[in-house]
Symmetry: C2
Amino acid sequence: MKRVVFSNVQSDKLFEQVYDYLLERIRRGEWKAHEKLPSVRTLALELNVHRLTVFKAYQLLKQNQKVYVKDKSGYYVQPSNLLQMASQNDPIISAYVHESHLSEIHQVQATYQFSKALLDPNLLPNLYFSEYVKNVFDLYPKVLGTYSTTQGDRELREALCGYFSNRFHFHLSPDELLITSGSQEAIDLIARSLIKPRDVVLLERPTYSPAIDVFHREGATIIPIEIHPHGYDLEQVEMLMQQYKPRLFYLNPTFQNPTGYTVPVDQRKRLVELAEKYQCLLIEDDPYRDIYFGKEPPLPLFSYDTAGCVIYLRSFSKYIAPGLGIATVACRPSLMKYLIKAKSLSDSGAPLLNQKIFLHYFFSERLQQHLVKLRTALAVRKEIMEEELSVTGWKWSSPTGGFNLWVNLPESTPMDRLLAKCLEHSITFVPGSICDPRRELHTWIRVSYSYMNEQQLRDGLKQLVTLSRSLDLEEV
Amino acid sequence: MKRVVFSNVQSDKLFEQVYDYLLERIRRGEWKAHEKLPSVRTLALELNVHRLTVFKAYQLLKQNQKVYVKDKSGYYVQPSNLLQMASQNDPIISAYVHESHLSEIHQVQATYQFSKALLDPNLLPNLYFSEYVKNVFDLYPKVLGTYSTTQGDRELREALCGYFSNRFHFHLSPDELLITSGSQEAIDLIARSLIKPRDVVLLERPTYSPAIDVFHREGATIIPIEIHPHGYDLEQVEMLMQQYKPRLFYLNPTFQNPTGYTVPVDQRKRLVELAEKYQCLLIEDDPYRDIYFGKEPPLPLFSYDTAGCVIYLRSFSKYIAPGLGIATVACRPSLMKYLIKAKSLSDSGAPLLNQKIFLHYFFSERLQQHLVKLRTALAVRKEIMEEELSVTGWKWSSPTGGFNLWVNLPESTPMDRLLAKCLEHSITFVPGSICDPRRELHTWIRVSYSYMNEQQLRDGLKQLVTLSRSLDLEEV
């Protein structure tokens, strides 16, 4: 067998080797069509690798239609023409891809998706969306025949300027807004435009995992800033800014992902002063702003910025309509022009249809009514999660908004085994190490209460707690 | 004045300097609000720079709302709070952006857009689109509340597999298709996943300009392959593959952009053999396939590929619905997994709504009827363009499909001056040098007949011809 060469994909090697090994045995006919393959546990022992490694190899075999799963009882050899295709030699390829660690977990199809910080589609006013769409076609009959500009529909950008001005005292011109397909794209464009290898980037610890991946990909030197329930140690931040001259600090100060922590007003003002003093851009990601359970959160850092040091990312997918894929970036024209150029090389702007639907829905009264209901529904789900976890002795700081609980498990918890066991039982969560630029925080997990209904939350959490207890017993 | 630092943006320097210089004079009050600024010609003489440089600086001043244009009579100083904002010091920023040269021309608002290889929105069946959208909401009431997978909607990928199998004898599984927001995004993902600095990339000469920009950005060593009305010199291609071991050859063999040339069947087969022999991936971009004026073009290279050497990019924006932003990439799973990973770092997949609308429209009978009309309409527009240009003595090879005419002007034509003059008269075209990896081909232009109606085509081309003649006279 001619082996595919995987250079620069170090972390994948073991799992790929197991994959290749299994595929080779299937090809040789050691296991025939419809034959049951060894269990994850057995193979892990046989090959002396971690069970999660075997699990991932099986998942890829399944995805590539080499094996199938039957009644959760195990993996079986898939009889298929595809097998013959795969047995031809692959061209020698090597890829230079930095992998999204979070996306690996998200690829797992599970019954209890505590890993997904996404909104349950049932919580959206789906029935009414088609009305807005109809309006859009009445108003703009050629909407599907028309390209947006790269920067985004001007009417939408003007409306958003008005919204930002009313709500947060941002005074923007439409030229200072870019419409993107999500804050993920915005981070990607910023990293590609503004970071070169060895530039210093500050990231919260823990932080939004794909941000780590994106800045790593650009070769940035990453320095973590600890985030606590009441913000950062600003003396340390100043010292780091002074010493390392970071190019930017990517932060999510409101119902932070994954912790749910919110940075207080005085720290916000001080951070903007520090950013100006040390010429460090602040990339403020703000996807959860409207998901608060008590009072409204403090104003964005962007509100305090007079020197153009803050780039403000606002995703609306989380609670408006994930299916539209609309987010916006606000920054000064001197920076904006680079983001537009970067975007022009990857697409010609968000689809106009989606921008127009968003425009008509976002500024409607119905959205405001919906948001009130949504906050209540999510607060209830959060309480259910906290109630179910209250029996464990695990620790967390109760968030006042957002989608996530950031939970500290006992030191003794074998986290890798817990994750593998949960995956076997169709339960996912995000291990803390994925959110940590240092890849530590092994005793923490992120569990989201946004995606499942109340019953699913209860059932899934009960199982998760039971599995963790069974591991504790094994350890003893 | 604190100057913005532009590192790594060499080609911009002059234009930026002119911009800064003008802005500084406005800020100092040398020109007051509503005062008329010097003409492009005058300033170009004064500063001893090209008129296009001054023009671009003025365009950016306009875009940044420092100046405004009145009745085409010139540029005037904009009185505005924005000016005060801009007069604060910008943070010191340096950006690492490789600029899309084509997008610069596209940013110019012009009456006669010969630079846009886009479809005239009036040629689309806009009236019927809303029906398909209504169907989509009836069938998938939660479509706006649902994320697509990163790879794209499975139902759409399955339908496209059937289509490719029927039309082109591609035998694909849905796992071998990725839905992107356009072929531009696909090229971007391929470059980011598969190219590292100093990898050798073959590009057609001339080629699709943003492809040059994207592979440059990744630091590739680019080797041009001349494309002629009947294809390539395959002996030269083989020699280059043997000698330089290129990682990939990006090509657009059907109604090529910008030339309109089509590579014949025997060359297609031979290219696939060469690619396999020398382990060089072929990136086949195929956006114009259904826009043929005579008989259908030859099958894609992908049809002849058994070894997985071809990655097939198929954009549908050009003639289905630009506002949907749907394209697809077909390749083997071993490559696909890297593209998916790269995509997962930039967004979470094309919006589901757009994929579902596309699915229902693309496979409808109405689309087939529409395509017949569309081909006729575009053939007529092409003939009008050829008729208007027939008085010039310029040379071109009449294309049998696509959106563009690739025209050779006399050696004596001062191309930079022609472009500047056209821009002043609200006419755009694409100078050949932008499409040339060597940045030569100074006597060629690409003019698109797809975006304007018949009358606009005639009026614009008459003006273009007149302007070029007036320059010829000046030269004499």
